[in-house]
Each structure stands twice: as C-alpha cells, then as structure tokens.
Symmetry: C2
Subunit: 287 residues, 2 copies
C-alpha cells in the first residue's frame, strides 16, 4: 500500500494545523508520499517585493520574476521547513522538486485560449504533468529504503528550466504512476501477500495506491455552509447526480473529475478530507 | 575516487561562469558531490525586502527573517536552478539541504565571544558541522546509484529547525566523512582495484576522496594582484613559511588551516582553483 497525500496552501499557511498534520503524517505507517502547495505565501512574497501576482482562472501567470519567487517559497522555505519538521518527528523525509533525481519532468505549457478573456494566454514558466512525467523507479527506490518524498509544485523541463505546476495534478500524476509501477518482490516470486494487489505476468507486483487530498473542509459537503454535511462516499453515478443537482459545483468539479480519472487509471481510492482527520476515516471517499 | 567540489557565491552569481562550470562538472567522470554558496544573492534579497544584512567577522547573523531569506535563496532558487542545469547536461543531480534524508545534522551555535566587539554574539539560526554530522551511508547510497548530491548551506538540527551553515565547512565535513566511509565492495572481497585506496580488516573499502575549492582566483597566489603567480603545491611546512612571510594572509589562513585538517583526517588532496579550471590541473594542490 502506498499513500499519496496532498496538502493545500491553507494547511501550509496555518502553523498550528501544519504542526498537527506533520505529527499525524509522521505517525502514519507504511509507504507514503507528501505533495504540498503554498500559494498564499508566494503571493505575499511577491507583494513584499513590489510585484503584482497575476492569476487567470485560478492559475498563476509565471514570468521569470514570479518563477524566482515561487521557487524560493515552495522549493525553499515551505519544502525545507516541512522536511525538517518531519525529520524532528522521526520521519526520514526528503524534499524534492521534479528536477531532483529527475523525479518529474514537466512540459512547458504552450499559450492556451482562455474563454473568459477571449484570447490566447501565455502562462509563462508553467508546466503540465501526467503519470508519464513521473520517475516511478526513483521514487520507489526511496520508499523501499524508508525515505519519504516530499514534493512541492516546482518541476523541470529537462532543458534547464524550472516550471511551476499545479500541485493537485502532481499528486494525482504521482499516485497513478505509483499504482502502475511494477516492482520486483524481495521474495522474487508472487507472494499474494496483503500488500500486493495482483501479480503480473513477469512476476512483478504493484502496490495498492490511495490518493488523499487534505484541505480545510471536512470533505465534499451536501451544504457548503454546513461542515457536518459530509458526503461519505461518491461513485461516478452519484457524481453525475450531484453535479446535476448543483451540489458539487465550481472548483470541486475539476477536482472530482480528475480524481475519477485517477481511479480509472489504477488508483484504488481517492479521499477528500480535512487535514486534521488524516489518521481517522472521516471525509469523502471516491470509488 | 570521490570528488567533493565547492563553488563560492561569486561563481553562483555569475551566470556565464556558472553555466560553463555546470557543463564541466557534468562532464567530470566518477563519483562527485557539489556544494555551493550563494551569499551575494541572499544579501540582495534581504535588501529588496527592506532588511539590513548584518555580518560580523564575515559571518551572517541569522535571525528568523534572515533564515527565511537564506533558505529561499540557497535551498530554493540557487540549489534548484543548479540542479535543473545539471539535469539538462545529463547529470542526474539531486539538490539537498541537511534536512533531506537527514543528510547533515548541525548543532546550533551557542553565543560566541567576538574579539573585535569585546562581547558575546548570538549568531541566531547558525549551525556548526563536522564530519560526524554527515550521513555518509545515505550520501553513498545516492552516489552508488549514479545520483549526484548538490548541497547548499542550509542544514537542520533534528529538532525541526533549519540552520545556516558555512558552505566551506560543509564541503570539508562531507569530504572527511566520505574519505572515511567504509563501503562493502560489490565483489564482497578486497579487489585491490585502482578505485580503492586500502582494504580494511572487515573487508570493507574506502574511496580516495579529493576536496576541490573553486572560486574566482586561479589558486593561492604569491602576489594577490598577479593571477599568474599561482603556487602550484603547498605542504604544511611551506604553509608555515608562507604565513610567516605574509604571503598567505587574511581569509586564506583559515581556509588553508581547515584544508590541512581535512588532509590530516583522511582527505587525499585539497585543490584550490578557478571555477573555469575544473577539468584541467591548474591551481594550488595542498598535500
């Protein structure tokens, strides 16, 4: 079993919530990977340096100066602090960008047509990733030695450029890549043990892989103003119904659409929950 | 053979020199480790954010706000750019702070008496390291899989704090640790091959390890204003003589003193040379 856990910028920006989350993450047994955002802090830093953050449809336009700031904030301050905090909890974390060990190679996004503006927009140093971008053998080599990768939003293009990438997409890409990664069992034969989901023709195995989105809400809610109205389980049919009823709307639609894509691509479960509930079974499970 | 190479802030700040150095470093065969500074850029960033860098006897006083800036600049922008540049040259680099994989655990420096001020100074979030601080098995596990560690000046104390550390000392500590690290030969017996310097009682081997300081001068100079006056070789006796004659003075004295300590502790050679001369034998060799 491998767990890929994503925490959003709101968790990273909240020192108390982050401290509690780090403790829980460190205590969680088994193979695990952390992916973190850090958006609010990057915008604050841009403003402190006299820059104006430019977001179009929720995505940051990343020119050279902005790339410097997000790399400093995400890969520098946030990533190294979380790594040091995990180390203090006895979790042997390693902070990574996609450039490190060539862990994730992204494609620079070409200019895209933005409906609301009616024209092509060049997002600048922004990268797109998929499961094919992920160096699963490298990540697995760390996991198998008890080293816990901590990814941030910065990747590279293999040509010497760093690229800012959506952290949700990084998390789902890693989860799909790890779910499909065939490792050779130390026993060199199919053991049919609990941690293996199935055996492949060549005697290699895959790990059941979960993707867990932790944020500052208790899950997908029937009523967005009522934190107690968590929908415990959503399958594709229910998702279609919830969309039609307008219960799932706005930013939650692409999140859930991408989550079901991850499930179709081999991820066992996607869970959406509050960061403080990492170790319990509260939240919304997508199956 | 393991080579530990340190580049100073003047190389990191010079885009053209850095680009050439990165190409040469990537082309260098064998096991290698890069350690980089980045001091000038950190001070620029502090000033851009309205802070006043405070240096006492050449060392940065690092309060919480300064720690944030140096972590962003060293571990974020500089480290990830160098890593991405190396990846583009086919060198499978991994950017590391001491927190990553618990590679280097530093001790927070207690307040120290500063002669020139006549009082104790608390340098803040500043760490001291020695060869004992270095996690040689982890670093060797990367090297043995062809992954090239790229260290910056940020380490951790194991209690969740990041610490700013002198990059020269990081380089010499890593070199001493690697020179003394006993690895098991893949052949499981002493092979007396060229890459091994000697065999140990338990059948483990050590790698001959060089420490190379690359900066913007051609080496240790007889005349500091004449770049052609490089002293090709210095042993301890000659060092004593050069100090007495005042030819080696100021910041070069601690650099050379620490270099000879590294040699006494197992490092084969220390070389001081210009960053553009990495692949040739120009420079000053300390033996």
């Amino acid at each position: 079993m491998i767990k890929v856990i994503k925490i959003g910028g709101n968790v990273v920006d909240n020192p108390e919530l982050l401290r509690e989350f780090v403790k829980d993450f460190a205590a969680m047994p088994g193979m695990k990977i952390l992916v973190h955002g850090g958006g609010v802090m990057a915008s604050q830093m841009q403003k402190a340096m006299g820059m104006t953050p430019l977001m179009i449809e929720g995505r940051r336009v990343t020119d050279e100066a902005s790339l410097k700031v997000v790399t400093m904030v995400y890969a520098g301050w946030c990533n190294k602090n979380i790594t040091a905090m995990l180390q203090a909890q006895g979790c042997n974390a390693i902070g990574l960008t996609g450039a490190d060990g060539n862990a994730i190679k992204a494609d620079k996004r070409p200019p895209v047509y933005v409906d609301s503006l009616g024209k092509d927009i060049d997002y600048g140093y922004v990268g797109d990733v998929s499961a094919q971008s992920v160096n699963a053998p490298f990540i697995y080599s760390l996991l198998s030695r008890g080293i816990i990768p901590v990814f941030n939003a910065i990747n590279h293009d293999g040509k010497g450029n760093l690229l800012n990438t959506n952290a949700d997409t990084i998390a789902s890409s890693i989860a799909v890549a790890m779910a499909n990664y065939r490792y050779r069992s130390p026993r060199e034969v199919c053991c049919r043990c609990e941690e293996c989901t199935h055996c492949c023709d060549d005697g290699r195995l895959t790990h059941e892989t979960d993707l867990i989105y932790c944020f500052e809400k208790d899950g997908v809610l029937y009523d967005k103003d009522d934190d107690a109205s968590v929908i415990p389980e959503i399958d594709k049919e229910k998702f279609a119904q919830l969309k039609e009823e307008g219960i799932v709307a706005d930013g939650m639609i692409p999140k859930l659409t991408n989550s079901f894509k991850a499930i179709d691509s081999g991820v066992a479960r996607v869970v959406i929950k509050h960061a403080r509930n990492l170790l319990n079974d509260k939240g919304t499970i997508l199956i």
